[in-house]
Symmetry: C2
Subunit: 254 residues, 2 copies
């Protein structure tokens, strides 16, 4: 049997330790093609580049790989480029990450890592976004490699339900991993504080910052899992219809 074809991307850029780790794991289970951003694209959500040009460059950061490309666009652009322009056939799996920082809970919606996985899902490709709660550039990914491999193999084996991709987050390195937990995303949000400063010309500007607030006490959430040392796996959908609300709005006087 031929090896599975695996597309690897991320949002921290092609040189990030997280994607290099992900590539090393995927090489053990399939033929790997990398198409990843040439610069950091964190928090780009599902943005695509329509008002600017796109560039791709063949690179060779990993001498084992024949097909490795850096792209000037967003993570979603990378997936579109890979599928339409670079790949000869639809890949068997798309993996995105390993993100340097959490994409649990509401963060899934801001995340370039997860948006790349979602875009692959829209294309009908089984897809997984991997993120590590520790956001440091020098996070030790070694202890989680076996779990990344296990989850990828399970997705290749079982496929995913139509319209679903996986959002996988790894707990802080200081926690002993208790196992893998399939969860719902916690109902949480960011309380932003804008840090107001003055530039050398005297004009005010802001930096977005803030505090993550989780008021969801459920033990079936990704936040609970991560807090308790579990790897969280949330099935994520991209049909955004709130089906339960259709009847409610239908009862209005529209």
């Amino acid at each position: 049997m031929s090896k599975p074809l695996i597309l690897v991307t991320n949002d921290d850029s092609i040189v990030a330790p997280g994607i290099r780790t992900l590539i090393s794991v995927m090489k053990e289970i399939g033929d790997v093609i990398v198409v990843a951003p040439d610069s950091p694209q964190s928090a780009m959500g599902h943005a695509i580049t329509i008002n600017n040009t796109l560039h791709i460059d063949k690179v060779n950061l990993d001498p084992d790989l024949e097909h490795e490309y850096s792209c000037s666009g967003t993570p979603v652009d990378c997936v579109k480029m890979a599928v339409r322009e670079i790949l000869k056939r639809k890949p068997d799996l798309c993996v995105s990450g390993i993100n340097h920082g959490s994409n649990s809970s509401i963060n899934v919606i801001y995340s370039g890592t997860m948006s790349a996985a979602v875009e692959a899902g829209i294309e009908g490709i089984p897809a997984i976004g991997f993120s590590h709660v520790d956001y440091g550039w020098h996070t030790d990914f070694e202890p989680i490699k076996k779990y990344v491999k296990k989850i990828a193999l399970e997705v290749l084996h079982n496929k995913l339900p139509e319209g679903v991709v996986l959002n996988v987050n790894f707990p802080k390195a200081e926690k002993t991993i208790q196992g893998i937990k399939v969860c719902r995303q916690a109902k949480a949000m960011w309380m932003e504080q804008f840090d107001k400063r003055t530039n050398p010309q005297g004009k005010e500007y802001y930096w977005l910052s803030g505090e993550f607030v989780n008021q969801d006490k459920g033990q079936d959430t990704d936040e609970w899992a991560l807090e308790n040392g579990f790897i969280s796996v949330v099935p994520v959908q991209f049909d955004l219809t709130a089906h339960h609300a259709i009847q409610i709005v239908n009862n209005w006087d529209l």
Copy 2:
């Protein structure tokens, strides 16, 4: 009773005819505050600005308005700025648009217009994104103003279920409006074609382009509604958990 406080934003920038129309309608029903991008932000999805600074400027395009601001960020940044930095209290309604171009079906996920509405929803603000299928800058919004007003008033009156915002699209101007239809988003996608060109220095670059493909024949979809002259209203959720898939993935050997 005091008038409702209404936050208005968009993704086509603060000078777009679509948002100026939306402002004119909202002034009839409430106190209006505008915080909108200072440049076009189409297809920015749920992107936020974390690796760059943000600027806001008080502007006065509409002499009736005391509070009108242009912001250097994305549509989602605009909502965050409005809620955390500009507004004294939580608004009663947030409206985004009127977008110059369709945000029906899968386009909701790429749309800056809808991401602004979703961000307001995350903040617990009743929110609506309005889009017109005609993408021209000089689209005649006059015939749809009464529907924009009606839908906004209904949301103010009924509120929205928790975790739900509305995605409203108006059909092509050439169609006679048949009424308002509450729908699900059609299962459709973009088949991209990258237009490959060569720059003056001989280097290749690409423009993203493509064709929208709808293979969803359902008559309960937004695409069907728009095609048949209805205004489509899709309730949209931002909890992305695919709840139905949790049990499926739980049965895997993880």
